[in-house]
């Protein structure tokens, strides 16, 4: 290690130039970073439900359907209808939009004696004006299943303008253009936006806003904490510089690997700002601690000592992050695991190689006495916190142990109260327009979560079509399903309009000839494929609780078992079922990733310290902190969601570092007899670094409370809580364990 330390100092300029060159190259790549806020694209292909859902979205264009929700006191009003028409016409003229359907242009088929009329619900050139005309329109809308609760809400206060994007349209870009266009109309009604393209656009805006606003704030907050702690330029600049470079490298690698920024990987820069600065803080702190006037010698001594702890803490952090790769349901969580782990490695590399190189290159070779102020044991922190703490722990170890035990027991009770939540609407803040849109869709349009029933068979075969109708009836038996759409429905409507009754014709010839009337209609693309051997029932599910979804899934499974045949295979999928999977995967992935991480940590730390017992001691504080974290989540009602599920393993990876530093320094100081001194030395030296680190990292994560996305707010709060918990555990619980374990070696003086 000593040799390596010497070489780092010798080749400092080469290291600096290489690091800066790589940073310039990777930084240049970041300009190509894309934001992917499409949750659907993150569903795993190895889950049949998710795979089918994605396939249906692509093949039948469902993922390209967006909605403008217009809310007014009463939709059946001439002025409101004119505004709906204005939006409809304006959307129709936009490039990238394929079809637009609203009350102002929706097709209306009316049966007559000899045939039928194909027209529009509203004459686009003479909107209903008199009360009589408006009432007639209202009655027509409310009597038809295809309009009531589908295009106009039953309470008559909201209407949808539904648009379909072309396959090659950019969802995010289109969402922005649709919003800008509708805002520019300056309409008096409330406008909201729903559907996947708009949701994706909304989330992308929030991700971008978070990155642009929160990252610089976190940067400033951490820099401020470091400035107050170290009171030197070097103490602020170096940790921030290495963290920034680590972020640039990681994002650059993401771009080179073809990965995109998601609503989870969005956290990586902030995480690396916290983690990346921590390694350098420990390196600087150690260099400052060495009582040696020759700066080169001081650095070599410090680096020789710090190399193993920092490398080990980096490895443990990587273990915590990488544990997601094996167990996460969503692809974006796996990506988060991979790149946050990579970022941690880069951060450690920079802390161990680049930071000392910079320090040595830009410092005077003779140490000034002022430098020692950074390591002064007589600081406020040392005098009023660390030293009294040492006395308390050493004199009353059992009090501390009892306090921790009580906290853990209480927290275990809280764990059973933890709820899970994967509902997309809860990603948004209570007063946000996106959440309001979701609520309107649920309250007034029978939900926002699509259900698809895929039929594989001849779509012009009356038997298949009748099975489709029966399936629709079965779906609608569930109280959470209000309406559905299918080709079978359309055929029944046309057959009825021809005066042949509300049924599927008995002969296939008739179905084929009815098809002539709808051939080329855009709606067909959403209901059947080009070869007419696959068809879809599209519906929506209004409940957002798992029990209702489970009951619906089980009722449908029974029905499908009886009705699915070789000639007419029926498969059910939909967002509620995927939510159910995600929901249960939250718990399993949480348990498994934590178990993997804990076992790996015990083995890893045990191996490096050549003692399994030390591996256990090192992980005990962070496990205690995580138990308390879960307890707080349960008691405070913070749910396990796609962001908070990350906290425990991330906290484990970062938090165990504190224990490693404590144990390493304790081993370094303890000679078998001086337990009290070793403990004091450990807490005074490691304690300061840990304290600074906990405060800076927590402050960085707490910036997330200003995030636009609710899961990230919780993520920030819980990460800060975990950091405080694990730091506190490393400085109180761990020393107490060390005292109790080594008590038999106490000397009389101790």
């Amino acid at each position: 290690m000593k040799e390596l330390a010497s070489k780092i100092l010798k080749y400092r300029w080469i290291i600096i130039i290489v690091v800066l060159s790589i940073t310039a190259f990777l930084g240049y790549q970041i300009k190509n970073m894309q934001i992917n806020s499409d949750v659907i694209s993150s569903l795993p292909d190895d889950d049949p439900d998710a795979f089918l859902f994605k396939k249906i979205g692509q093949n039948f264009g469902g993922n390209k359907v967006g909605m403008v929700i217009l809310e007014a006191d009463n939709i059946f009003n001439n002025e409101v209808l004119a505004h709906v028409q204005l939006i409809t016409d304006s959307l129709s003229m936009m490039d990238g939009i394929s079809t637009v359907t609203s009350i102002s242009n929706i097709i209306d088929i009316r049966g007559g004696e000899n045939g039928f009329e194909v027209g529009q619900l509203i004459d686009e050139y003479a909107l209903p004006y008199s009360q009589e005309e408006l009432d007639r329109l209202k009655n027509r809308v409310l009597e038809k299943d295809m309009y009531r609760g589908v295009i106009v809400s039953i309470d008559e206060t909201a209407t949808l303008i539904i648009f379909t994007l072309f396959d090659d349209s950019d969802l995010q870009e289109m969402a922005g253009r649709v919003k800008r266009m509708t805002h520019s109309l300056n309409l008096p009604e409330n406008l909201y936006y729903a559907g996947l393209p708009m949701m994706v656009g909304e989330i992308a805006d929030l991700i971008a806003a978070d990155l642009i606003v929160l990252l610089p704030i976190a940067f400033l907050v951490i820099a401020l904490v470091l400035a107050l702690s170290f009171r030197t330029v070097r103490g602020v600049v170096l940790p921030m510089l290495t963290a920034t470079i680590a972020i640039i490298w990681t994002l650059g690698f993401m771009v080179l690997g073809g990965y995109e920024m998601s609503m989870v990987t969005n956290n990586i820069p902030l995480l690396l700002l916290a983690v990346g600065s921590a390694y350098t803080i420990h390196v600087i702190n150690k260099i400052n601690q060495v009582k040696e006037n020759d700066f080169r010698k001081a650095m070599v001594v410090a680096m020789t000592y710090i190399f193993i702890p920092v490398a080990l803490t980096a490895l443990t952090t990587v273990v915590g992050f990488i544990s997601f790769v094996f167990e996460a349901y969503l692809v974006m969580i796996r990506d988060f695991g991979i790149f946050s782990a990579l970022g941690a490695l880069v951060s450690a590399f920079l802390a161990l190689f680049f930071a000392p190189a910079i320090m040595y290159a830009f410092s005077s070779k003779k140490r000034k006495t002022a430098d020692h102020s950074e390591l002064s044991k007589d600081s406020v922190l040392s005098n009023y916190l660390l030293r009294p703490l040492t006395k308390l722990l050493f004199n009353h170890p059992k009090y501390t142990l009892t306090t921790w035990s009580l906290l853990i027991i209480l927290s275990i009770g809280g764990i059973f109260l933890i709820e899970r939540n994967v509902d997309v609407k809860d990603y948004f803040q209570k007063d946000s327009p996106a959440r309001k849109a979701e609520e309107i869709m649920i309250e007034k349009f029978g939900g926002s979560k699509p259900i698809f029933v895929l039929f594989k068979g001849d779509m012009q075969n009356p038997e298949v079509l009748n099975t489709m109708l029966r399936t629709e009836e079965q779906i609608k038996k569930d109280p959470h399903v209000e309406s559905s759409q299918s080709i079978a429905n359309l055929i029944v409507e046309m057959n009825d309009a021809l005066g042949e009754g509300r049924k599927i014709p008995d002969e296939q010839d008739k179905v084929e000839q009815l098809w002539f009337l709808i051939d080329g209609n855009p709606i067909l693309q959403q209901l059947v494929n080009d070869d007419l051997d696959e068809g879809l029932i599209i519906s929506k599910f209004a409940a957002d609780n798992s029990d209702a979804t489970r009951k619906f899934a089980s009722d449908m499974a029974q029905f499908l078992e009886v009705n699915s045949t070789e000639d007419c295979e029926i498969i059910l999928t939909g967002m509620p079922f995927i939510d159910l999977k995600m929901n249960s995967s939250l718990l399993t992935s949480q348990i498994r990733s934590l178990s993997i991480a804990i076992i790996a940590l015990i083995i890893l730390v045990g191996f490096f310290m050549r003692s399994l017992a030390k591996g256990l001691y090192a992980t005990a504080p962070i496990i205690a902190a995580i138990v308390i974290l879960f307890g707080v989540m349960g008691v405070a009602g913070i749910p396990l969601n796609i962001a908070t599920v990350l906290v425990a393993s991330v906290a484990l990876g970062i938090g165990v570092d504190y224990s490693i530093h404590v144990i390493t320094y304790f081993n370094y100081s303890y000679n078998g007899h001086n337990l009290g001194e070793a403990l004091e030395d450990t807490i005074m030296v490691s304690g300061k670094a840990i304290f600074i680190n906990v405060v800076s990292v927590s402050a960085g994560f707490l910036v997330l409370v200003f995030s636009e996305m609710v899961p990230l707010q919780f993520f920030g709060i819980l990460m800060a809580l975990s950091m405080v918990g694990s730091g506190l555990a490393a400085l109180t619980l761990l020393p107490v364990i060390l005292v109790l374990v080594h008590r038999k070696h106490l000397t009389i003086n101790d």
Partner: protein
Amino acid sequence: MTRFTLLVILVVFFIGIESIEAQDAKELLQKMDDIMFSPVDKQGNIEIILTDKNGVEKLREATFIQNAKGEKVYRYTKPESQAGIATLSLPDGIMWMYMPAFGKPKKITMLAKSQAFSGTDFAYEDMAMRSYSERYEPVLIESNGGIYHVMNLIPISDKSNYSKIVVYLDKANFYPIRMEFYDKARKKRKESTYKYHKVGEYWNAEKVVMTDLKKQHSTTILLSDVKFNQNIPDEDFTVEKLKPKSAE
């Protein structure tokens, strides 16, 4: 010559030019109508090819008859599943359709003129039986040089889908070579090209391609075995005649 006299002469001169140009445009459009809306009956075979942006084609084939009043009868032969379907289109937007499987003709009233015609890229407005002169005000844009006149057709009715249609008219024979359809946002949305061929003394559009530029979807209409002036009796354009004798 006083300034006032000069001004009067100039005003008269320019108004004169404008009215001559308007006159020219109207005459040109009338000549185009004379070719497109043939004064005699017509019969032949029609192929309709729908091509999507991936190049996937769908084919329909039919025989057709048409009279000078603009009444049309199509009898579909392909695709197989729709063979035997016959339609009688009347100028007032009413269509009678005979579907063999249902036995008797059904009346379909098309009220939504802006809708696409049966999956093609033609709107009902494009297929109207009324002449362009009745529906549009022509403005001559370019007439000098080249092989065609260029005219803007401005819809007279505000119920049109279009803000204007730009017509490129063959100078020698007055049939359209190309039409460009602009939507109300004044963006070019559709384009049609025409290939005319003389059958006897009449010009026949043997190939028309209508392309929806936004959807990148096109409809090609190919007419073959076209015969004019066959004295097709009026009774062939009645509902009763839609059902073929073989089906009775």
